[in-house]
């Protein structure tokens, strides 16, 4: 608003009403922002495999070397688990006989 605008009781009332409406819009915008950030963060946490080397808020694809290293480690863990399971089943077989 220009400073040269004449201020009357009526215009002042209208100005305060408009300001209140803006405040309500601002409040709702802040609420929406908080909800969006919260929801997004919850989804990102849910989808992030921290044990696999992923980093929250950074795409794993941004660092190919780290991703490949994490993939190799994940493969090694799977392989080790499979081998351990195979060993367990082999050691369990003689006792059944």
């Amino acid at each position: 608003m220009s400073e040269s605008a004449p201020v009357t009781a009526e215009t002042e009332e209208l100005r305060i009403k408009a300001q209140k409406r803006r405040n309500v819009w601002l409040a709702w915008s802040l609420v929406a922002f908080v909800v969006i950030v919260g929801l997004t963060t919850a989804i990102r946490i849910q989808e992030t495999d921290f044990s696999g080397g992923d980093r929250l808020y950074f795409s794993g694809y941004m660092d190919e070397a780290a991703k490949e290293k994490a993939d190799r480690e994940a493969q090694a863990r799977i392989q080790a688990r499979l081998e351990a399971e195979a060993d367990q089943s082999e050691s369990a077989e003689p006792s059944n006989e």
């Binding site: 608003m1 220009s2 040269s4 605008a5 209208l14 100005r15 408009a18 409406r21 803006r22 819009w25 922002f33 969006i36 950030v37 929801l39 997004t40 963060t41 989804i43 990102r44 989808e47 808020y57 950074f58 795409s59 794993g60 694809y61 941004m62």
Partner: protein, 319 residues
């Protein structure tokens, strides 16, 4: 003309929600969101990677907010020339509804919020590209190019070309050649699109001292440039088919729209649009081209969305 003079001339009025909406340049925002969505959907279709629908929605929302922020910064800085031109004199800042400082503050806050949202919803590359595109339009085009060179639209057109690349990066965290092809389509499309409008509004640009092509190089040169850029758009528009990014739906849609675009550009080239003695018919020819250019962009990106979003991709035999 100074901004102080602009504001004192405007009949002040109380801002409405509509004024704040208009400050964000909603029509530009619509095209930006649409092309970003096309980039996002194409990235999913081409790369085979997926994105959580909520994160995709937030990413697109971030692009919309970024576009709005750049629009607010543009209206803050251009309030003085907007007040001079009839077409833009009713915008919220020159109309005295929204103070300049408020437009600047809103633009800066929304810029930060949009980049932050993009970062948390996708990745740092997409957020960085969004920040670059906001700065490119809000600072480089608005404050550096627009009042200095007749090539403002050509160079500044890159700002509007970023959205599909951002959408693509939001999904994959990378920007492959296909994403930059979508960038190139919008980049080459922008000059004939905007110059068609400037042929009609050249007197106003002259009055405001903005060196648009028709003001600095004349209407004839502008019409030639419009036709040449439209011809250049034909092979650029075909690139998605050549690389295999797009299939038959896009190929047919793009071919039809390109022919229509060339037809309109040829009509403009042969007309007297933008000349001092140009009449209503010339104005109509230029505005028809402007309207068709919007249809072109909407059509080709809609074809990409249809192919990759609705499983209608039938390869033409790209490389």
């Amino acid at each position: 003309m100074s901004s102080e003079l602009t504001l004192s001339q405007a009949a002040p009025r109380l801002a409405t929600a509509r004024d704040y909406f208009d400050l964000l340049k909603p029509r530009i925002m619509g095209l930006v969101v649409f092309t970003a969505l096309a980039g996002l959907i194409a990235a999913v279709g081409v790369s085979g990677q997926s994105i959580n629908p909520v994160l995709a929605t937030v990413s697109i929302l971030a692009v919309a907010l970024g576009s709005g922020a750049a629009g607010a910064l543009n209206m803050w800085y251009d309030a003085d020339i907007d007040a001079v031109m009839t077409r833009t004199s009713t915008r919220p800042v020159p109309a005295g509804a929204i103070p300049k400082d408020e437009a600047l503050t809103l633009g800066l806050i929304m810029s930060g919020v949009s980049v932050l949202l993009m970062w948390i919803a996708s990745n740092v590359l997409a957020a960085g590209l969004l920040a670059v595109s906001i700065a490119y339009y809000g600072w480089f085009y608005t404050m550096v190019l627009k009042r200095r060179t007749a090539q403002n639209i050509v160079i500044g057109g890159a700002a509007g070309a970023f959205p599909p690349v951002i959408g693509w990066a939001a999904v994959t965290g990378t920007t492959p050649v296909d994403a930059w092809i979508l960038f190139a389509i919008i980049f080459v499309w922008t000059p004939p699109h905007f110059w068609a409008l400037s042929l009609v509004a050249h007197k106003e640009y002259k009055k405001a001292g903005v060196p648009m092509m028709p003001v600095t190089n004349g209407a004839k040169t502008t019409r030639e440039q419009i036709f040449l850029y439209t011809l250049l758009l034909a092979p650029v528009g075909a690139l998605p088919v050549i690389t295999g990014l797009s299939g038959w739906v896009y190929a047919i849609t793009c071919a039809a729209l390109t022919l229509g675009f060339i037809y309109h550009a040829h009509k403009v080239w042969r007309s007297d649009a933008g000349e001092p003695d140009a009449g209503a018919d010339e104005r109509k020819i230029a505005m028809s081209m402007f309207g068709f250019s919007i249809l072109y962009l909407f059509g080709v990106f809609a074809a990409i969305i249809v192919e990759h979003g609705f499983g209608l991709y039938i390869p033409v035999g790209g490389v």
